[in-house]
């Protein structure tokens, strides 16, 4: 899923300063699963914003709504009638949400209420870890099912570097050295020799480096 973090309340308050009628807009997709932008978080954020407004004796028209997804125009369309009645919409979907909403309703100020952080998974309730950098050319099967591109701080394809100590990355004792894990895993699988190959340079054209990406499926297009 796409994992995000709430923006600091102070930052959101600054965004909506002077905007009387505000909609906090959630998404039932990834951000619901990672507990940052679903219906419940919409309620919490909207309530906090109302408290802040009340505290200053300001109008408290902070409304709540959660769409099925914010990355599909058909769901954004559900806002068609209401959108322009708001002075601001705070989207707490991933970075796609505020862009789709802003594109559809150009007259309304749209703000991002969360910071989109990474593509990852839950290690346990309340803990997520980055697992994919969407490089556009998946190679994890060559590395024991572990991604050196997303999980090595230097994206080394021929690691581990000299900074690997006690299974941890040189950047922080909080970060696993994925190359240590790769070597261990491949050894367990009896495939260590495969790692002796000198991996050639990666073609980054399928990654963000090749420019913004777009995908067209002729079989699905209407």
């Amino acid at each position: 899923m796409i994992v995000g973090d709430s923006k600091p309340l102070e930052e959101i308050l600054e965004m909506i300063e002077g905007k009387d009628k505000v909609l906090v807009l959630g998404c039932r997709g990834c951000v619901t699963v990672c507990n940052v932008g679903g219906e419940k978080e919409v309620g919490i954020l909207a309530t906090a914003l109302r408290i802040a407004r009340k505290k200053r004796g300001l109008p408290t028209s902070i409304e709540e709504r959660t769409l099925e997804r914010q990355c599909d125009p058909e769901y954004i369309e559900e806002l068609a009638e209401a959108a322009e009645g708001y002075d601001a919409i705070v989207s707490i979907a991933c970075g796609v949400g505020p862009q789709f909403v802003a594109e559809r309703f150009p007259k309304v100020r749209v703000f991002p209420g969360i910071n989109t952080t990474f593509i990852g998974g839950a290690l346990e309730h309340g803990v997520w870890s980055e697992r994919c950098q969407s490089c556009g050319n998946c190679l994890v099967h060559n590395f024991g099912g572990l991604c050196p591109i997303a999980r090595c701080s230097k994206s080394l394809m021929n690691g581990p570097c000299g900074g690997s100590a006690n299974k941890k990355c040189e950047i922080s004792p909080e970060v696993d050295c994925v190359w240590h894990l790769i070597v261990e895993k491949m050894a367990e699988m009896g495939r260590l020799e495969e790692l002796e190959r000198v991996w050639p340079v990666k073609n980054w054209i399928t990654s963000r480096d090749g420019g913004p990406r777009r995908r067209v499926r002729e079989d699905l297009k209407q």
Binding site: S153, K154, S155, L156, M157, N158, G159, P160, C161, G162, G163, S164, A165, N166, K167, K168, E170, I171, S172, C177, H180, V183, E184, L195, E196, V198, W199, P200, V201, K202, W204, D209
Partner: protein, 309 residues
């Protein structure tokens, strides 16, 4: 000869090579480079010029290399993959060799989160192994990575680093082997303090025949004080400073700790040279202590340096 550098010639003639290291200043103080260089002249066969080491901004490595050439020393141009993509790395090696630089050391580079601009974006288009292979291709085939012909191929003696003390230990010699397979002509190791472990590493390397394909230089950094030893042990990732070395330094008067550190370095060089098979030389990294490099090299009986034509 691949590059015809002094380092390459010394090694080819079978001499026990000695390389040094010089960190460029955090400014454009060319005089500082010349000042440090004169301590190393005639003491080492070539001098590594670090490339923004520990991700702290310093004078460009190639520029400091050029200053050394002008002073009559031979530089080893260190290049890290952190700050440049393939375009810049290939371009820089062309420029560097055009200025007379003949040795290059290919590194991944310390992550910028250590450095003085931790908020920067890194590159890591390539890793050090891939960088070695590209430079080899440019030199041997006269071609860029994309197979297009070069207008003038760089004659370079290609170096790489190995850290015998990083984890996982048993993979370390294998990874060094990958660098050699990719085209490394010489290897310089991380600072050695744990000799038994280095011995074990070299045994794995020799068992794989790596010492026959490539010159392996053992890294030596004199410990200036107990504080430095403790700092290295605790805060430098992948550094192994055994407790007994710290104790040995603690056993002497504070003012004499530096001398003791130099003595330890000399003993290590001698022991490595005499008892560890497969080592072709030493890389003496007297960091911010260039003026004492001579004592170490001389003490180890490695002066005068051979002159090879």
């Amino acid at each position: 000869m691949k590059a015809g550098s002094n380092l390459e010639k010394v090694l080819a003639a079978g001499h026990f090579a000695v390389t040094g290291e010089l960190g460029p200043p955090r400014g454009n103080n060319a005089e500082e480079v010349r000042h440090k260089a004169h301590y190393l002249k005639g003491i080492v066969d070539s001098v590594n010029i670090t490339d923004n080491q520990t991700a702290v901004v310093r004078m460009a490595s190639w520029a400091a290399c050029k200053i050394l050439i002008d002073e009559g020393l031979e530089p080893n141009y260190q290049m890290v993959c952190r700050d440049r993509n393939r375009i810049a790395l290939m371009s820089d090696i062309l420029g560097a060799t055009a200025l007379g630089i003949k040795n290059v050391l290919c590194l991944s580079g310390d992550h910028q989160r250590f450095g003085d601009h931790p908020e920067g974006k890194n590159v890591y288009d390539l890793d050090s192994v891939q960088l070695i292979s590209i430079f080899k291709k440019m030199r041997d085939e006269g071609k860029f990575l994309n197979d297009k012909e070069l207008d003038g191929a760089p004659g370079i003696f290609i170096g790489a680093a190995a850290n015998p003390f990083a984890d996982p230990f048993t993979w370390r010699a294998v990874r060094m082997g990958k660098k050699i397979a990719a085209g490394a002509d010489f290897i310089q190791t991380q600072c050695i303090y744990n000799l038994p472990k280095f011995r074990e590493f070299m045994k794995m390397a020799v068992d794989r025949g790596l010492h026959e394909k490539c010159a392996i230089l053992a890294g030596i950094t004199p410990l200036k004080s107990v504080g430095m030893a403790k700092y290295m042990a605790k805060f430098v990732p992948g550094m192994d400073v055994p407790e007994e070395l710290v104790k040995r330094l603690q056993g002497v008067d504070k003012k004499a700790q530096g001398d003791e550190g130099i003595k330890i370095a000399i003993e290590m060089i001698q022991e490595i040279r005499e008892t560890i098979p497969g080592v072709a030389g030493v890389h003496v990294m007297a960091i911010e202590w260039e003026h004492r490099a001579k004592e170490i090299v001389e003490g180890a009986g490695l002066l005068p340096r051979p002159v090879v034509d």
